[in-house]
Symmetry: C2
Subunit: 198 residues, 2 copies
């Protein structure tokens, strides 16, 4: 049974529990679970079913440290100022934790990449972000913390660090691990719905 | 209980059942269910929790017809040739059905828009596509067919049709309705996983 009131209830419950986790314990994450979550990611749609995703699963401490340093440097050179001006102190402090080591402290970082040569022109975003969302929901359903982070992906520094070939772009860094503390559901405004036209 | 082996099993089952539906029956879709699916969409992450989404729920037959005409025109002027050359006859034939009236024949079209002024520069994609994926998964869990379509969103024609203000971009047209026929799970390659670096 793949659908019905109970399935929708369950999905809502998982989706509500999904929060950006930026601080992790040292408890390990099983390789088979990571593989399972990545298979779940690939069940998402992509333009022309092009499936342009490539996943780099980073466990090596030195590589995680280097990604953390890149994240931290991007955060302090501009992004933090924007955040303080626009998002307020609470969220900024939370990203502070993540950018200065919290995210890189997760036992696993999944770098979600796009092979831009595989998909129709202009359709990379719609072909990769849904896969990231499946990954985040799967992690939540499995009891792991995760987050969609992009600070480290600007420019080609991360691509150089990971040895990505031309045409392959790093889109997101998704930490996976056990949350250092439980997180309550995030704040959301009611959906802004218009009928038939704006 | 929001997580555990059973929750992950359930999510996998819903994700596997998610297919691009391009042909619908005339059976109506309840307004409360649409509202519930849009609330689910907003549980997704967005850059700085900016929540830039705006939803236009189109039921009006004339507007749906106009969106269908726009889709069909975009399909025949270029996209279809690309699809035939790159995707093969089966998928092309399926999109033919959708582009020439199938998608517009759904009782509800949700136009997912982004208010680009709300989110940090360069972060529109990562802030809207995850919401679309939640919407698609929710529709699947509720037993509805849906699809992520973007053919009608190029240029400003759709924006003009819907009266979108400057800065608001139509990102996707998601039909919601009861599938004309059951669809088997889509084809996927095994995930391409690299360890620590490419």
């Amino acid at each position: 049974m793949t659908h019905g009131p109970e399935q929708l209830d369950q999905l809502e419950s998982v989706a509500r529990a999904q929060r950006a986790t930026r601080s992790f314990t040292r408890e390990p994450v099983d390789d088979n679970l990571v593989d399972r979550l990545l298979a779940l990611a690939t069940r998402s749609p992509s333009a022309g079913n092009s499936q342009p995703w490539e996943f780099i699963v980073v466990r090596d401490p030195a590589t995680r440290h280097a990604i953390g340093a890149l994240t931290s440097s991007r955060w302090s050179s501009g992004a933090r100022d924007w955040s303080q001006a626009n998002l307020g102190p609470e969220l900024t402090a939370d990203v502070d934790t993540g950018a200065t080591g919290g995210v890189a402290g997760a036992p696993v970082l999944v770098i979600v990449c796009a092979d831009t040569d595989r998909c129709p022109p202009g359709s990379v975003g719609e072909s990769v972000w849904p896969a990231v969302q499946n990954l985040l929901l799967g992690a939540t359903a499995a009891g792991l913390g995760s987050a969609l982070t992009t600070l480290a992906t600007g420019g080609r520094d991360l691509a150089a660090l990971l040895g990505l070939p031309p045409g392959v772009e790093a889109m997101a860094v998704v930490p996976l691990g056990h949350p250092a503390r439980p997180l309550r559901p995030g704040r959301r405004e009611p959906p802004r719905i218009h009928h038939d036209s704006w």
